[in-house]
Structure formats: C-alpha cells, structure tokens
Chain length 401, copies 2
C-alpha cells in the first residue's frame, strides 16, 4: 500500500503552516576525547527550549542499516517511497541548474576532462576550470543534433556539466563513459538492455563530436559522462498533500529535488542567516517550507567535527527567527547522518524534533541522538514524516468510518 | 506479505486464555492546567500494579499520522490489514443490529427524515423519532421486493435505520442520496461504475416507494440513504487463530465488527461493571475475549476531560475481577486516541500494556502515553498485537526450521 495514495484522499487545505528544517547529515558519532557527538557538543539553547514543547524520535532514512544518498533520503523525507521513485543523478543535476526537463528526456552528469594524445585520461576535472570557462565551452554545443535527437550541454559548477538528450524513444539503460579514475581510457557507452541500443549509439557519437569541438580547448579537451537518467513525472506536493510548498536551498541538487516534487524554489543568499531571512520574507506566500542546510553534511564529509558543531550552533542561533513566524508545525531533522568520524553518509538514524500544539510532548530534555532514542515518536522510517507533519497541522481527515 | 497467512500456519489450540481490553479512544493529550493527559490524571492503582508484571509500548492504529475511524482501527487490532479489508458503514450498521447478512448483500445506512411539500429536506433526523416509532415504520416495509431484489428495512437507534438489499448481481458502487445538509433536495442515487446501473435503479425505486409508504407518517415522511456497502466474507478468528472468541460490547457497531470476524457476541448490561460481570460468567466457554469500553471515546468526543478520567478509573476498579480469572494474557489498549482537547479521534499512538508470564517486563512504572513511549514493546502498528497475544499465550509454533 502506497501511503501517498491514502494521504491524497485524506488531505485538506487549511491555513496552517509547516516548516521542515533539514540539517543535512545531522546525525553523528561520538568522538573519543569527549564521548559526545557533534550534536551533543553543540550549544543549542534555542532548540533545547523548543524541545520543551516538542516530541522527539529517531528516523531511519530508508531502512535500518542502509546508508542513503541524498536523492533517496530526500524523497523519503518528502514522503515518496524511495524504492518506487528513483531519480538518477543526471536528472538531479539538470533540475538543479533549472533546466526545463521534459518527460522522456535523458539527463547525464558530465565532466570536462583532460585526455592526452593517445586518449588516456590525465585529469578527470580538466584542472578544475572555472564555471565561466565551462559556460563558454558549453556554448560550442549550441544547436547540436544527432539522428534527430537534440543535445543540450549546460554548465553546473566548475568542470561539472549536465548533458540532456531530447527526442523519441530514448533510454537511460546505459553504462558510464567515465571510468572514475585517471590513467585509463574513457569507456565506450554500452546499452544495458537492447532498447538502449539507439541511445548508446547517439551518446558515443556525441562523445566523439565533443572531442573534435574541444580539440583546441586544453585542458578541457574531452567530456566524460555518467549517471544516465530519464526524467519521469512525479506526483507533486500540491497534488498529493494539497500544499503550496517552497524550498530554501543553496545547492543545485536539493533545488532540483524540490522542483521535481513541485516546490517553488525561493531566492536566497548562500549562508544560513540568509536562508532564514528568505523564510521570513516568503512566509506568507506558502504553507510548507523545506529549509535545507547543506554545510553540516560537507563538514561531516570533510571529517571536520568542530566545523559541524559550529554550523549546528549557527542553525540554532536562527531558530528564534523561525519561532517568531509562529508556524503551526516545525520539524527539525536531517536527511541522514554524516558522522565526522566516518567522513561519509552513514546508516545511523537521525534525531527528529516535532513541534506543534498537538504533538503530545515527551520527556526528552536534550536534542541528541541518544536522548531522541527514548522520545515519544519512537524510531520510525522517514517516509512517515510527512503524514505526521500533516496530522499535526490538522490537514488530514479521518481514515475510514 | 499478509501476516495472517503466516499466523494461520503457526497457530495451535491450547487451553490458554487471552483478554483484549479495548478502552475506546484511550490515548489523550495533556490539558494546560495540569500538563497531564486523561490517563495521567486518572487514579489507576490496579493497572499500575498489573504493570509490575507487564510490558508496555505505543501502538499506531494504522500508520503514523493517520487518524482512523473505528472500523479500520478495530480490524487492525484484530490483526486484519486495514487496507486490504475494508468494511462500509452500512455493513457495520447491519451487523451491529444482528441482521443475518449473507455474502453479496448490499447494506446501507439510512435516516428517517422530514421533507416539505416540495421535497426539500427540513429535518435530516425526522425530529429524532423514538426507536419504537422507527420500528413501527420499518414494519411498513415488510415483504418489499423490487425487480427480484428483497429489501429489508430495520431500526437501529432513534431515526437511524439499516436497509439491506438481497439479490443477484448487486453492487455498492453508488453515490449517497443523503446530501448531509438540510434545505436541499435528496440526491438521486447514481452508479459510480457501469456495473452498478441495475442497483442504482432499484435503490431510486425504493426511495420513491418509501415516500409513498411514509406519506402519512410526518415527521418521518422520507428516507435518506448513505454508505452503500457490500457484505464480503472475512476469514474468522477460528480459521486464522484457532481461537474460540467472544465479544463483550455494548454498541452495535463493535458487536458488528466482532461478528464479522467470527466472534460470539455475549449478553451484557450497558455499564462497565456489567461488562466485567459478563466476562466472569462466560470465562470458561471461550479462549479469547474482546472487551470493548465505549464511553471513554464518547467523553473524548464531547471534550469532557473529567468524564474520560472518571471512566478510565471505573475500568481500573474492575481490573481485580479480570485478574481473579487468571487469564494467561491480558492486553489493555485503545483502538485509537480521542483527546478531549481535540474532541475527535486523533492520530496519536495509543498506550498498550501486555501482561503474561513470559512478557519480558520493562521498566515502565506508570501506564501513560509518555511512559509507554519508553516501554519494551517500543512503537509498533496495531496489526502486530494479535501475534504478540498469541505468542504470549504460547499458541504459536516456530516459523521455519
């Protein structure tokens, strides 16, 4: 049974407002010196005070033991079954730069790269060329068409690009050309299923064409492709939840996921203060806000325990701005854990705090991995967060008589 | 995977006895004056003492965030997947008055109502005529048959009636005639799917016939119909669990659900003491008892916090009677929460207490929403209650070798 099918029948429009604050990679692991996690070391007086009117728990992004990528983790946060709905990195990259994808488009992540005279990859990132230079090079591909398929090449950031194929009968069942290592030849793109034959041919043609067009653009003299993914239409927040939803995110991928589920992507500066300011400025115009803090995850991935602590504290300093807006429901959680100790995403469940007038407060007095384990929400899969949010905002009618 | 399919293979008959005490709408929310819920304010020395030999937890009736009606909430309590098994209000009403439904019957909830000379509804409840008067009027319909379909009209309570159609090829895919508001015309009953064409015709004929028969019965001069539902056969407690089960309930709907799953419905007086007395008297004859306390839910729906507290205390006073019978397993829970604060069913999980010699006691010392949150059973869906009951009664063999 797909929960969204049920929610679609039970949701009603009301004036109540929900804020989902996602502190990326929030959950951590204790460091030996102190025996405390990043969240436990952080001074978070505002979240602690909010806790007095909240209920807590632990969220498994996907399933116990499964470490999620950002895509499935966010889909689950938004209530989409991450096994039923899968989005490729290519589609995420394209959506993230605001490319107007159409159903059936195949989107691909690409790198400008350096190859030597024999075609061996010497630098997978073309010496990290600037975004401006990348944009210039992308313009060389304007109007390219191969066998009736239009090909769009768009800059993402530095050497990273998105390539989009648009035409009839395209498939994303293709192997990557990017071998993910230097000192190797790029791989031929191969069809994984017979129906991808035509697309593989077009992509290999495109890669050859790129080498010719970039012949004089050293160090960016070739293109590596990976993460072929076809754009499929998702049911939107408005269709399922009857929510007018907006995203405040700074990274392309998160904006992309937000667009995919029908959220408006709001203007915001890059730092945390600016994101909360954007929430303040747009608060009247929407009834659901997804506020995404990226840098906590980056600090975790860098193994920078102290920096993650500082960033959590910075989020905490902004909590009063959020409270001043008096949303009906506030949820603070992460999309997954990123313990600095592991320098990567992890499988550990993420603490969650849910505030509403009707949340049924528990006895948890500290927002941390350990304390949330005995919270009133228990331990549950992320896919239920949206139903809890909607219920607490009194946006759900009764199921059955 | 349907859990009942597995249980069917694992259950064995034993002399052990299970009592499932359902305090309807048990879970609550704290009121501001005391910061305590109904259950937290209640003096429940007997349940507290039982707790010393029990394990606790929190139960989600359906899914986190979903507020259930009594039908799906009870099916889940009884171990039936509430998404797979759905029962309409019409079937519940008919079962509740003990009408011997047959597979294929279409049951409908009805009201005697008042319409003016133009046919506009002036009183949806016919001025709340008495049950006796309603029974008199129902007798006007004895022997009615339209196009080979037998029609039974039966009194439920006051102005409320049940209408049952019996014949070949009937469908319940029909829209209601009851517009649920006064000052409007009754609606024509329309087929939602083509296969309901014939039934819609019969129902509209019946509505016309009713107006003619009730012409002189002002204020009960018409019938409004809603909640068409076809009677489907459910697997029974005896088939799945090998239990000889009995229900002690006072409200028609709960008796109806109990009959639907194959329970015997025992004689009982209306008050809580009488229900426990009925348990005492019938204890030797069955091995599973469903004891349903209705008024806690009604108090919650009335927003009467104090009354709900009093009723919980009244249940507690009867617990020694239950203990004297020495059942092997006692489960005390609700079908859902009905916080007086919300005056309605809610999505909040319900506390559960499970006593057995083998329950593996936890450290919870108070039976309450908050304390049960850290209980040894954790938070889990209601659909697992029956397996826990059977396991603790040593009625389940090992799964697999």
């Amino acid at each position: 049974m797909d929960t969204q099918e049920i929610l679609k029948k039970l949701t009603i429009e009301t004036p109540s407002k929900i804020v989902l604050l996602v502190i990326d990679g929030l959950g951590g692991l204790p460091r030996e010196e102190t025996g405390k996690t990043e969240l436990e070391e952080a001074r978070i007086p505002n979240l602690t005070s909010l806790l007095e009117r909240s209920i807590c728990g632990l969220v498994d992004p996907i399933l116990p033991g499964i470490t999620p990528g950002s895509g499935p983790a966010h889909l689950a946060l938004f209530g989409y079954d991450p096994f039923r709905y899968q989005i490729g990195r290519g589609v995420l990259a394209a959506l993230g730069i605001g490319f107007p994808l159409e159903p059936g488009d195949v989107a691909i992540r690409g790198n400008f790269a350096t190859v030597d005279e024999e075609g061996v990859i010497t630098n997978r990132r073309a010496g990290r060329i600037s975004t401006e230079r990348s944009a210039e090079l992308c313009r060389l591909f304007e109007g390219v068409e191969i066998e009736g398929v239009d090909i769009f090449v768009k800059p993402v950031k530095e050497y990273r690009i998105a390539v989009i194929l648009r035409g009839e009968g395209l498939s994303d069942d293709l192997s990557d050309s990017d071998p993910q290592r230097e000192g190797l030849f790029p791989l031929e793109v191969k069809p994984i299923t017979p129906s991808a034959e035509k697309t593989s041919h077009i992509v290999n043609e495109f890669i050859s064409l790129a080498k010719r067009k970039l012949h004089h653009s050293y160090p960016a003299n070739s293109i590596l492709l990976r993460g072929f993914s076809k754009h499929r239409i998702f049911p939107t927040f408005s269709e399922i939840y009857k929510l007018k939803a907006a995203a405040i995110a700074t990274y392309p991928m998160y904006k992309g996921i937000a667009r995919l589920v029908g959220m408006a992507v709001l203007e915001t500066g890059e730092d945390i203060d600016s994101q909360f300011k954007s929430l303040q400025e747009n608060f009247n115009a929407y009834d659901f806000f997804y506020l995404h803090i990226k840098h906590t995850d980056s600090a975790g991935e860098d193994g920078n325990f102290e920096q993650k602590v500082v960033l959590i504290e910075e989020v905490d300093k902004n909590i009063p701005i959020l409270l001043d807006l008096s949303p009906d429901v506030i949820i603070v959680t992460g999309d997954h854990s990123t313990p600095a100790l592991l320098r990567s995403h992890s499988w550990h469940p993420c603490p969650i705090l849910l505030y509403s007038r009707f949340c049924r407060r528990d006895s948890v007095v500290r927002f941390s991995e350990r304390d949330c384990g005995s919270g009133g929400l228990g331990r549950f899969p992320a896919i239920h967060i949206m139903s809890l949010a909607l219920a607490n905002a009194q946006k759900l009618i009764k199921y059955g008589a």
